[in-house]
């Protein structure tokens, strides 16, 4: 495992920053003096410009971050659980005609951020954004070993901790011709995901399934390039871009395991490959044209294609895309906007695939992937009859046509979706802003059981400022969905079941109150509430006789609910000019479960598999004290307590203490 690679990226980036900084400071030492040159355009007698000094400004810091964790790393999901030296640099310098900027922080060798840029007039623009992140992953467990009988659970690496180190570097170089509207651009994104993940899969055969968990080292890399140009052809601005991407899954892209003999699949016992991460690549061409942005009519059009290929299975897809935007402002109080989007996706995969075991070769038939064409039209309007009120309405129609669906049974060939939205913005008086929006969506022949026939959505937002020192914000969203005629496919005996209902309701509320307690103290308290209720009919395939067929079993009106409440309080206080205190506290409680009926003869209720209840408490405190000569000393404390109320497996705490010494310049 090359865990230090991302750190090397950061080191390179930092070297670049140091070079930039040295250049800037050197330039400053050589008298960074730039006179303004604007006298030639003025009627009044030009006088000699004052010389303008623009000094580099920013800050750098050095510190240490102590990280302490206990039990599960769930509380430290995005925290590298190792103490580390920290440092950073913020710099803005403009020794014209050059401009530089650096914003960076290094928290550990897997946790860093750097944004560095260089510009020369408007001719050269270079920017590089480097991000590193450590992500601690859950180690999932199967909580009911040997239940139901016949299902075996095998965790091959029960003590392993799982994580990903993510590093991304985005580079942009733009070169513009002087005195002429033409520029070329080059973008590159390098991405790396390196770590150890939990690979879960089924082994065995139908009457003896082994649910397996195993550690898998990954070393994924992706490169994406974009090159293009932009110019004006008379009234039209044209931009062409070519993209290429390649994903490299590294050396551990295929898993191998022993599978027993299966009469059903005519499979001899052998070691077979499974869970392949294939190498993929893509290329795209995009042409964009648009008229002047400033007309009463503005039109823009996009045409593009995207080709993607799987180098392992040889599956291919070709996508053609088109777009047209028209905006028209016929009257100062009204605007009309039309959009059209077209997408044609042609999937092409092999009819048969060869599965090569150690001693045997199997030939599997592959169903055609589904190709489709989608067209979306939308017409929106904005009407502002008076300064303090506006009304926005929109209608959108989408038509989806699927191809090659014969082998898939459950899909509808066509799905049409109609959507209407009405939004009103008002300001009845200066201190109150109101917004109300209603949205209705109708799916004609939805293909998936999670897609509703009808969706009604209402949103109300209020922002009230009764006095200069207090602000109240309220936002409530209610979404109600209905679906008839759910689809279930029973495989053996083959039956397509069409029936059953699904009704859902989602409530989302945010209330926030901000106070300016004094010129030196502010406080914000907020409450966020989310609830999702759904009641639906479910169908199961259930084995009634050993080795003899399925029986579709309906469980009617199965309720599912999940709910979360999040409370937060934030305080910012400056007791003295040179001291800043900050404190934040957030408490979140989330739970969810669905309650199924007893499936005929089932040894356990499915309910127990669905329950989730957890709380998370996050506290953070910070103090910063200014010192003489632009120095500043700071201390930050971050605590996260995760309480897995369901089974305690994810319980964990993390405490991060960061001490910084900072200097502004």
């Amino acid at each position: 495992m090359r865990r230090g690679r991302a750190g090397k990226w950061f080191a390179k980036m930092y070297l670049l920053g140091a070079v930039l900084m040295a250049a800037v400071l050197t330039a400053g030492g050589e008298e960074t003096v730039f006179a303004q040159e604007a006298g030639e355009q003025a009627d009044p007698p030009a006088r000699e410009e004052e010389r303008v000094y623009y000094e580099a400004e920013g800050s750098y810091f050095l510190g240490y971050r102590f990280v302490s964790t206990e039990d599960s790393l769930k509380a430290a999901e995005y925290i590298d659980p190792h103490s580390s030296v920290t440092f950073g640099l913020d710099l803005l310098s403009c020794p014209l005609p050059y401009r530089y900027h650096v914003n960076s922080e290094y928290l550990s060798k897997h946790d860093f951020y750097a944004d560095a840029g260089f510009a020369y007039k408007d001719i050269v623009l270079f920017r590089d954004i480097l991000v590193g992140l450590h992500h601690n992953l859950d180690h999932f467990n199967f909580f009911f070993p040997d239940e139901p009988p016949g299902l075996i659970y095998d965790d091959r690496d029960p003590g392993d901790e799982y994580f990903l180190d993510y590093a991304s570097n985005q580079l942009l170089l733009r070169l513009k011709t002087p005195d002429f509207p033409f520029h070329t651009f080059f973008r590159h994104r390098y991405l790396e995901r390196d770590g150890r993940v939990e690979q879960r899969f089924l082994l065995g055969d139908f009457d003896r399934l082994i649910k397996t968990s195993a550690s898998r080292d990954i070393d994924w890399k992706s490169n994406a390039y974009k090159i293009g140009f932009n110019s004006h052809l008379g009234p039209v601005e044209v931009e062409y871009a070519h993209d290429q991407t390649r994903f490299d899954p590294g050396g551990n892209s295929i898993q191998y395991d022993f599978y027993p003999e299966s009469e059903l699949f005519s499979r001899p016992a052998d070691i077979y490959p499974h869970h392949v991460h294939p190498e993929t690549k893509s290329s795209a061409h995009t042409l964009k044209l648009h008229s002047s942005y400033t007309g009463g009519f503005v039109t823009s059009a996009t045409v593009g294609n995207l080709y993607q290929k799987n180098n392992f299975s040889q599956a291919e897809s070709t996508t053609w895309k088109g777009a047209l935007d028209v905006s028209w402002i016929p009257d100062p109080v009204m605007g009309l906007f039309f959009k059209y989007r077209h997408r044609n996706v042609d999937m092409d995969n092999r009819d048969m695939v060869v599965l090569s075991g150690l001693n045997n070769t199997l030939l599997y038939r592959v169903r055609d992937s589904i190709s489709y064409t989608k067209d979306v039209f939308s017409l929106s309007s904005r009407y502002r009859p008076v300064k303090n009120f506006s009304l926005l309405t929109s209608y959108q129609f989408s038509h989806l046509e699927r191809k090659d669906i014969d082998e898939w049974e459950v899909f509808e060939k066509r799905t049409n979706v109609h959507n209407i939205n009405v939004t009103a913005n008002g300001r009845p008086f200066d201190k109150l802003k109101l917004k109300a929006a209603y949205d209705f969506t109708y799916h004609n022949d939805p293909a998936y059981n999670t897609e509703p026939d009808n969706t009604n959505r209402l949103r109300l937002t209020a922002n009230y400022l009764p006095a200069a020192w207090v602000n109240l914000f309220l936002d409530y969203i209610l979404t109600v969905t209905e679906r008839d005629n759910l689809h279930y496919l029973n495989s053996e005996p083959f039956t397509l079941l069409e029936g059953g209902n699904r009704e859902g309701r989602r409530d989302q509320l945010l209330a926030s109150l901000s106070f300016m307690l004094s010129p030196k103290a502010t406080m914000t308290a907020s409450w966020s509430y989310n609830r999702w209720d759904v009641e639906q009919d479910l169908a199961y395939g259930k084995w009634t006789t050993d080795g003899f067929g399925d029986l579709p079993f309906f469980d009617f009106a199965v309720p599912y609910t999940d709910e979360s409440n999040s409370f937060s309080l934030s305080v910012h206080y400056m007791p003295r000019e040179d001291i800043t205190l900050t404190a934040d506290a957030t408490y979140t409680i989330a739970d969810g479960e669905y309650v199924s009926g007893d499936v005929l003869g089932s040894p356990l209720s499915f309910d127990v598999l669905s329950t989730l209840e957890a709380t998370e408490t996050i506290l953070s405190f910070g103090v910063a004290k200014k010192l003489p000569r632009d120095w500043e000393v700071g201390l930050k404390l971050y605590l996260d307590f995760y309480n897995d109320r369901n089974d305690d497996i994810l319980d964990g705490n993390v405490v991060v203490t960061t001490f910084n010494l900072k200097r502004n310049f």
Binding site: G117, V303, R341, I477
Partner: protein, 262 residues
């Protein structure tokens, strides 16, 4: 089903057709000052009785604007002050309108004398364009008048994009006087976006979230606030194309592919 060659032929027919259609917009562009746009243009032209007096009479004459001047000089627009650049010239009056009425009662001597006495000399700024109270479309027009011709970055989907439709102007996110660098940094984008999208911010308090509040993923990693091909202002042309930027192992195509996932 069309062959690749057929599609290529269709592509090459489509491109000139689109070019012709958009070229037809030349007439539309020619008739740009149709009524509402003319109204907006009147708003951003400024006082018709005033003359342009040049940047030095605004900034050099008033010491309290020194910092503004520094930022302005350091910006790309500041570099465009030279006539010989051939680019749209930009100075204070490009956005604030002609300023002769604002300074008509001022003289260098008066400014210098007040300065000596420690008194700030205010110009008659009410004769300038009231930028803060312009309609959002007019505010954006102040910027777009140059950026439609400048070919520096492409605002291709701006005009019919959600922000333009909902009257969110350039000013909401870009502060011309805040810094030489007018771009919004990725780190700053979160604070900026959550200023309006508070409900989205609240969802990042839930246990399962992208590391946005941790400062390692940014709103602009997924969204293009200037409008885009896809719904919800996604950065790429669809949700899948946006997600696979950071999750490339999910790009595919796979042997057993999802259906109409975009």
């Amino acid at each position: 089903m069309l062959s690749n060659r057929g599609r290529l032929r269709r592509f090459f027919l489509l491109v000139p057709a689109v070019l012709m259609i958009v070229s037809g917009c030349n007439a539309l562009k020619g008739s740009k000052p149709i009524l509402p746009i003319r109204e907006y243009e009147k708003m951003i032209v400024g006082n018709l009785y005033a003359d342009y007096v040049g940047t030095q009479n605004c900034l050099a004459a008033c010491h309290e604007h020194d910092q503004l001047r520094l930022f302005f000089d350091a910006s790309t627009m500041g570099a465009q002050l030279k006539m010989e650049s051939g680019m749209p010239l930009v100075d204070c009056e490009s956005c604030h309108g002609p300023g002769s009425l604002a300074i008509k009662d001022l003289s260098p001597e008066l400014v210098a004398e007040n300065d000596r006495l420690g008194i700030k000399t205010a110009c008659d700024f009410k004769t300038l364009i009231d930028l803060k109270n312009l309609p959002a479309t007019a505010q954006s027009l102040v910027c777009l008048k140059c950026h439609t011709a400048n070919a520096t970055f492409n605002l291709h989907n701006w005009n019919a994009g959600p922000h333009a439709v909902h009257e969110v102007s350039c000013f909401e996110c870009h502060d011309v006087h805040a810094s030489p660098d007018l771009k919004v940094t990725p780190l700053a984008s979160g604070r900026l976006c959550f200023g309006c999208h508070q409900s989205v911010q609240a969802q990042f308090s839930l246990a399962s979230h992208h590391p946005l509040k941790e400062g390692r993923v940014f709103c602009v990693d997924c969204h293009e606030p200037h409008g885009s091909f896809a719904a919800k202002d996604l950065l790429q042309d669809g949700s899948k194309e946006t997600c696979v930027q950071c999750h490339p192992e999910k790009r595919g195509p796979f042997l057993y592919e999802h259906a109409d996932v975009m």
